[in-house]
């Protein structure tokens, strides 16, 4: 496998997409409140409008730098897939559309897979690139999700998918529809190993993408204001002639209707993900570990956590072994851990 780290990547990116660079002295208009924001300030604010809090779309690279500890991650190359399986042509050939999207983004398709740590927890991310044909899901994206799942299993890491997609890629016809069950299989691969599967829904997550891996997270997080839904708002309005309630299909609306666990602003995502992963993967912190008889504190804690002990002693060896493997924190004797707290 061809591993490309983000140390090499920026150089490549600079070569490929220098035309997309915006000079630092430019002003940008917020699409939500029309406030003019100094470009550099907007970048510093992670492309969240300082005036109204509108979360503008960000690409996978920015996203990865934002989420992984110290902005460090390793991207993996994705398997090559069949090109234009249907020989699809609308007003333009699909192969032409692909070519344009590739030269625009410098990427092969609409998904990027990377691994690293988030809050010290091992994580694999599969991030959609909306600028690549609207982040639409075809065979290549499906393969990307499967590769991410396999990587998570291989690395004993959590899987975090981050959709930003209009849905299935029509130009791949039925094969794009088949990415729905295929992406569900990817999720199952991770779940059956008892690894956490988290979905971070970003703007937009609609159509076939919403009706598959993106709704099956152990934990469902969304960015503020993200449009999330199965049917397009226009389709609902036009075909069914129902008036749409205010805020319809926005993240906050879904939260209210029980479809999400939380809506988290961009600058709190890393902390939230890290904390959540730690809660799921390190059920017993030093303090809560069964006491070996040393110290009053340890004894009282042990008594308080009898129940926890009973249900998870079998697992208590695991985190230590994992720490050792990753070389992060050497495993310590239990007593030492307790006193450390």
């Amino acid at each position: 496998m061809n591993w490309i780290t983000n140390y090499v990547r920026p150089k490549l990116q600079a070569l490929v997409s220098s035309k997309n660079e915006v000079p630092d002295n430019l002003w940008e208009k917020c699409p939500a409140c029309e406030h003019m924001v100094f470009h550099r300030e907007l970048e510093e604010q992670l492309r969240v409008c300082p005036n109204c809090g509108h979360h503008m779309r960000i690409g996978p690279t920015t996203r990865m730098k934002l989420l992984f500890d110290e902005g460090k991650y390793t991207r993996i190359s994705l398997p090559e897939t069949i090109q234009d399986p249907l020989k699809f042509r609308d007003r333009e050939r699909y192969t032409e559309r692909l070519k344009k999207a590739r030269s625009k983004t410098g990427e092969q398709d609409a998904i990027q897979v990377a691994h690293g740590t988030i809050g010290g927890q091992k994580a694999v991310t599969a991030i959609f690139d909306f600028s690549f044909m609207g982040g639409s899901m075809g065979v290549a994206v499906g393969e990307g999700l499967l590769a991410a799942a396999k990587l998570a299993v291989e690395k004993d890491a959590a899987l975090i998918t981050i959709p930003s997609s209009g849905g299935a890629r029509m130009q791949e016809g039925i094969l794009s529809l088949m990415q729905l069950p295929r992406s569900v299989i990817a999720v199952e691969m991770v779940k059956e190993k008892n690894l956490p599967y988290i979905v971070l829904l970003t703007d937009p997550t609609t159509g076939g993408v919403s009706a598959s891996f993106a709704m099956l997270g152990d934990i469902q997080i969304a960015e503020p204001g993200a449009v999330i839904g199965f049917a397009g708002a226009r389709v609902i309005e036009e075909t069914i002639r129902e008036t749409l309630p205010p805020g319809f299909q926005r993240a906050e609306y879904l939260l209210e209707h029980g479809m999400l666990d939380m809506v988290v602003p961009r600058n709190e995502l890393q902390e939230t993900l890290g904390r959540t992963l730690k809660l799921l993967r390190e059920p017993l912190l030093g303090e809560a570990l069964p006491a070996s008889g040393k110290g009053k504190k340890a004894a009282s804690k042990a008594a308080a956590s009898d129940e926890a002990k009973g249900s998870s002693t079998a697992e208590s060896e695991k985190p230590a072994a994992k720490d050792e493997k990753s070389g992060k924190k050497p495993a310590k004797p239990e007593a030492e851990r307790v006193t450390e707290q």
């Binding site: 016809g173 529809l177 088949m178 069950p181 295929r182 199952e188 199965f230 049917a231 319809f248």
Partner: protein, 318 residues
């Protein structure tokens, strides 16, 4: 009054003439009887020639033909002791999805399918086969029942798509469809799915992740309706015909793409002209599949089902 599709005009003329002749006289008139037979043969040849080279757009119309047999008819012809089961136990009963327990060739099964309805009131009651989340959650409940009692799970797919409505979105249409696939892919009993009419996108695949995916010869199965595709990619729904071609949504193309396991032949002139025969053919195909799957253990069923979907997308059309 029979419903003719616009490309069936020549057949309509012949069949109308036959009707007229029949009304004209008694059976004893040999000349007229001969003429009727002659016209009938001609109509059949005409049908044969039309239906042997249906365009994708024409197939869309056949697949949506109002007289095409629907789920209820299949169930009443193929299933004994059918016991419909209702409700998702969460919110409501969605009649766009019908399902229940029944005996297929002597064997208890769980059956589920989208029902479009056959007249105005039943179409409204079944919401034209467009399910809301409750329909998919009822299907999930029945999948779990099949698993618990180790009964084969059979689906009949016939839907324009999942219902696009405010309430459906609020109650988690996307989640309901995704969960259907998750549960269905994890079943350890045989799952056989047949696309009998329209396989409309996510609304269809929610009930089509089985060990065997079968399709009637003139049914369609697509990621988006030709109309929807045309209005997005061509920016005009007038281009639906072109979109139908481009999407490769016919059973024949899906067979070539390795998405379906078997194509079930329809009688000459399509399922709507020979409903009983069509239903019997579908029954036979399901029965063959169940026989095929009967000696597989739960683990290999799950594993092979997964592998089947993982293998898709490796071959394209030339």
């Amino acid at each position: 009054m029979k419903h003719y599709l616009d490309f069936e005009k020549s057949v309509a003329e012949l069949e109308n003439k036959i009707e007229e002749l029949r009304h004209l006289t008694s059976d004893s008139d040999i000349n007229i009887a001969e003429e009727v037979t002659h016209l009938q043969n001609k109509a059949e040849r005409e049908l044969n020639s039309i239906y042997s080279k249906l365009s994708p757009w024409q197939k869309c119309q056949v697949a949506r033909h109002p007289e095409r047999p629907h789920v209820r008819e299949y169930i009443s012809a193929l299933v004994e002791d059918f016991t419909p089961l209702a409700g998702d136990r969460l919110y409501g009963e969605d009649q766009a999805v019908v399902g229940g327990l029944g005996r297929f060739q002597g064997r208890s099964c769980v059956l589920v399918g989208q029902e479009k309805g056959h007249d105005t009131s039943s179409r409204v009651a079944h919401n034209f086969g467009m399910a809301r989340p409750e329909g998919y959650r009822k299907a999930q409940r029945l999948m779990n029942m099949a698993e618990r009692f180790r009964l084969p799970f059979i689906t009949l797919v016939d839907t324009p798509g999942a219902y696009p409505g405010v309430g459906a979105e609020e109650r988690g249409q996307a989640e309901a469809i995704a969960r259907c696939m998750e549960i269905s892919l994890g079943l350890s009993v045989p799952v056989v799915c047949v696309v009998i009419g329209e396989g409309g996108s996510g609304g269809a695949i929610a009930l089509a992740t089985g060990d065997r995916i079968l399709m009637l010869e003139h049914s369609i199965y697509s990621v988006i309706s030709p109309e929807g595709c045309a209005s997005i990619l061509w920016r005009s729904s007038d281009q639906s015909r072109d979109a139908a071609e481009a999407l490769r949504l016919t059973a024949q193309d899906l067979d070539k793409l390795g998405v379906i396991d078997r194509l079930i032949r329809e009688p000459i002139g399509g399922a709507h002209r020979a409903r009983t025969e069509t239903i019997r053919a579908v029954g036979q195909a399901i029965s063959d599949c169940l026989k095929d799957l009967s000696d597989k253990d739960p683990d290999s069923l799950r594993k092979e089902r997964r592998e089947k979907f993982l293998a898709m997308g490796q071959k394209g059309l030339s």
